[in-house]
């Protein structure tokens, strides 16, 4: 199937801190949309994994946030902006296995310290910006073939 993207498609999802019932909904909906647009499976999966990790971080660490996406014939850009505590040392946070996840999150299956490495690994361009006390923004771009 060839790509069926004629013009820019964009949208947003609101993310609510600690809302585990809806956690992952934004990522699955985005996954579905890309599949419908004819994006190849492997790329859809990369987008879904990266987005899911970013979504989960906002839900675990922040009180609230937004997920914005913008799809063009060339690529998808996903931006997850949260109003959370921010990250003091981004380099440390990016290390595989580094995690400050609270116990309750660990008991729910989060806190491997693989989220940010997973986002980076699945994106073609990965940017993270964070201000302690204000929040964190992750931007990921994944190119289409």
């Amino acid at each position: 199937m060839s790509l069926n993207i004629k013009e820019t498609i964009d949208g947003s999802f609101q993310l609510v801190g600690a809302d585990f019932t809806h956690a992952g909904e934004a990522s699955t909906q985005l996954k579905q949309k890309l599949a419908e647009l004819g994006v190849p499976d492997g790329i859809v999966r990369r987008v879904a994994i990266a987005t899911f990790e970013a979504e989960m971080n906002a839900i675990i660490y922040a009180a609230a946030g937004w997920l914005h996406y913008c799809i063009t014939p060339q690529s998808i850009t996903i931006q997850v902006v949260d109003m959370g505590p921010g990250i003091e040392n981004i380099e440390l946070a990016m290390q595989e296995g580094y995690s400050t996840a609270p116990d309750w999150a660990r008991e729910m299956g989060w806190g491997a310290g693989m989220g940010l490495p997973n986002m980076k690994r699945n994106s073609d361009i990965f940017k993270i910006d964070s201000v302690v006390g204000e929040g964190t923004t992750v931007e990921m771009i994944i190119n289409f073939p």
Binding site: E96, G97, R106, E107, G111, A112
Partner: protein
Amino acid sequence: MKLSDIVNKLSLDVKTYKDGLQHAVTGAYVSDLLSDVMANSKEGHIWITLQAHINIVAVASMKDLAGIIIIGGRQVPEEVLKKADEEEITVMTTPLSAFEIAGRLYQLLT
């Protein structure tokens, strides 16, 4: 079976407390949840996990586990290794996945 035999047969990389290799292994437990390991692991078990969090040492020590295998080629932080040496817990690593190493160990032990 002695822990040293298992280390040899599974090509594990021993990171801490080599004296522990003399210990007998009674079985294994696979889990990434500390509370689960606290509740369900047994004395003499090898614990297989991806968790390299500092608290794994305390859990292994409290439950008298025979050692911890950290899977997936994960780097174990220095502070965790230091604590494991202090608490006399043998920490080992493997590039294999939890499923794979558990499967091989199961074949050795049963």
